[in-house]
């Protein structure tokens, strides 16, 4: 993997590091729970004990936002894991065959408005982290199936797949041994870029009250709750907003950088 002279990858990683390192430390120290309510110190200004001040409940804004970022990335990561594993499995099953049931369902998924899907899931499961993870995973699933099928189909027509069949390998074994390792770089890039979308979806769903319920610290919910303070206490809106932006930008740039680092040598290596 060529990671030298890849400013996009490094910038993306740096942006993620700025948010995620303190977020992980905070989560370790506080368990990513909301800081204690302290009505005596509502809307406190910046100080040493509250570096970014406090919110309308007197909670430390920095701790709140960092815990929110941790929760958001955790949900995004679980959703992306789910959609990557399920999408890859379904995509591999559909690869090398005419589009039938699986691709039909994927197309149906693409035609369904994501927010409507989320609203349906929340109605069915109640507002919870599980429902949110399922909803975000469902947004990503059709694209993941399409990408996997496309890439795997391109590998399946190669002569070395025929050679492998001649050696006595079964289809499942060929998919595992030959196809999966060949499309792994693509899947890694796709997963990293999907994280950006997943963080954004998490923020969007929480903003619409379709995400995990309070008191779990959440960036989208903070934006929704504090937007009325945009003129009198701008930090309350700016900090969660900027955090979301840094995360999305970071995952996107890391994804692009990974694409450059992983794809290029593979193309050079191909005969």
């Amino acid at each position: 993997m060529n990671t030298r002279a890849n400013p996009t990858l490094w910038t993306g990683s740096a942006l993620l590091g700025i948010v995620l390192l303190p977020a992980f430390v905070t989560a370790l120290l506080t368990g990513a729970r909301a800081p204690a309510i302290d009505v005596m110190h509502r809307y406190a200004p910046l100080s040493l004990s509250h570096p970014l001040g406090t919110d309308p409940f007197g909670r430390d804004l920095l701790t709140f936002v960092l815990s929110g970022a941790f929760n958001s990335v955790l949900i995004a990561a679980m959703a992306v894991c789910l959609s990557t594993v399920a999408g890859t499995a379904l995509g591999l099953m559909a690869a090398g065959r005419p589009p039938k049931v699986i691709m039909g369902l994927a197309d149906l998924g693409l035609a369904f408005p994501p927010v409507l899907t989320a609203a349906l899931l929340v109605t069915a499961l109640g507002a919870s982290a599980t429902g949110e993870i399922l909803a975000i995973a469902l947004f990503g699933l059709p694209a993941q199936i399409r990408i996997t099928r496309q890439a795997a189909s391109a590998i399946l027509i190669q002569d070395y797949i025929a050679a492998s069949r001649l050696a006595g390998r079964s289809t499942v074994s060929i998919l595992r041994r030959h196809v999966l390792p060949n499309i792994l770089p693509l899947l890694t890039v796709q997963a990293t870029s999907s994280l950006a979308l997943a963080v954004l979806s998490d923020a969007g769903l929480s903003y619409l009250e379709l995400g995990a319920p309070p008191p779990r610290p959440d960036l989208g919910r903070a934006l929704a709750a504090y937007q009325i303070h945009i003129f009198d206490h701008p930090l309350l809106v700016a900090v969660p907003g900027l955090t979301i932006m840094l995360l999305v930008l970071g995952f996107n740039m890391a994804g692009d950088g990974l694409r450059d680092a992983l794809d290029a040598p593979l193309q050079e290596r191909a005969p």
Binding site: A163, R165, L166, A167, G168, L266, P271
Partner: protein, 272 residues
């Protein structure tokens, strides 16, 4: 003694269009049968039917008996058991028949790993023996090399090593020497020949190189539009071809086709 391979009335249809017409032949262990004919005559379809790898939509009828077992009735898991073990195949295109992301040694070892109960170190030793046999070690190719580090000839040697790994009873060689230089071609054919002697391996060889066929094959089968127009011992086919198509084919390939204007070449069509 029953022959190793018995093909009886093999027909293959694709969308009701016949590709092969009731083909019948036998092949004894240790013998080389060459299938010749122009492009599109059904040679590769024959090879794919024998391997059970006909593309979707191709329907085979008749009987292919290998060691007295009808291959056309096998299920896919049963095919996986005999492909690579009893049946080996090498084909024409060595440049794309190896996985670019896996090492040569691992790919050669694959057949052994799938069909034998050898331990990891025994498989490694056996792989090195195979690489030595096909002349890869002599050429300085390491088992840890990737396909892109090998020349076309070396890749074809690696593919032959993969096909010979389990000492198959029948090797199907679909124009596998076409992309090779004369020296490598001779080396590879010598190796295949040696296997027919030492392991009684039978070879079904598909080739356009009639010089090679004449030199190595024991029997020849001539295909034209999916029909076997003539078959017999190599010497009799080459010395006294009975069928006009065989005569034309031999005349074009062996006796200065370059000097004969295309318009004067005899055109023969097989009656339906």
């Amino acid at each position: 003694m029953t022959p190793l391979l018995q093909v009886r009335d093999l027909s293959v249809h694709s969308l009701a269009r016949p590709i092969l017409h009731s083909l019948s032949f036998t092949l004894e262990a240790g013998q080389i049968l060459a299938v010749i004919g122009e492009s599109g005559s059904g040679k590769s379809t024959l090879a794919l039917s024998l391997m059970g790898l006909l593309p979707a939509g191709f329907q085979p009828h008749g009987e292919i008996r290998l060691n007295d077992e009808n291959l056309l009735t096998l299920t896919e898991p049963q095919w996986c058991q005999i492909r690579g073990k009893t049946l080996g195949m090498v084909f024409q295109e060595p440049m794309s028949a190896l996985n670019p992301t896996r090492r040569i040694g691992a790919q050669i070892a694959d057949t052994l790993r799938l069909h034998t109960t050898l331990t990891r170190s025994e498989i490694r030793d056996q792989t090195l023996v195979l690489m030595k046999q096909v002349g890869l070690l002599k050429a300085g190719v390491s088992e840890r090399a990737y396909p892109h580090q090998l020349s076309g000839g070396q890749r074809q040697r690696a593919l032959l090593a993969m096909a010979l790994a389990c000492k198959p009873a029948l090797l199907i060689a679909d124009e596998f020497t076409t992309a090779l230089d004369a020296r490598t071609r001779a080396d590879m054919m010598a190796l295949v020949h040696q296997h027919t002697k030492t392991h009684r391996m039978a070879v079904l060889m598909i080739s356009h190189d009639l010089g090679l066929v004449r030199h190595h094959a024991d029997h020849v089968l001539v295909l034209k539009d999916g029909i076997c127009v003539e078959q017999g011992p190599t010497a009799s086919i080459f010395d006294a071809p009975a069928h006009p198509y065989t005569q034309a084919l031999l005349a074009m390939s062996l006796h200065g086709a370059a000097h004969t204007p295309l318009s004067r070449l005899p055109v023969y069509t097989v009656p339906a």
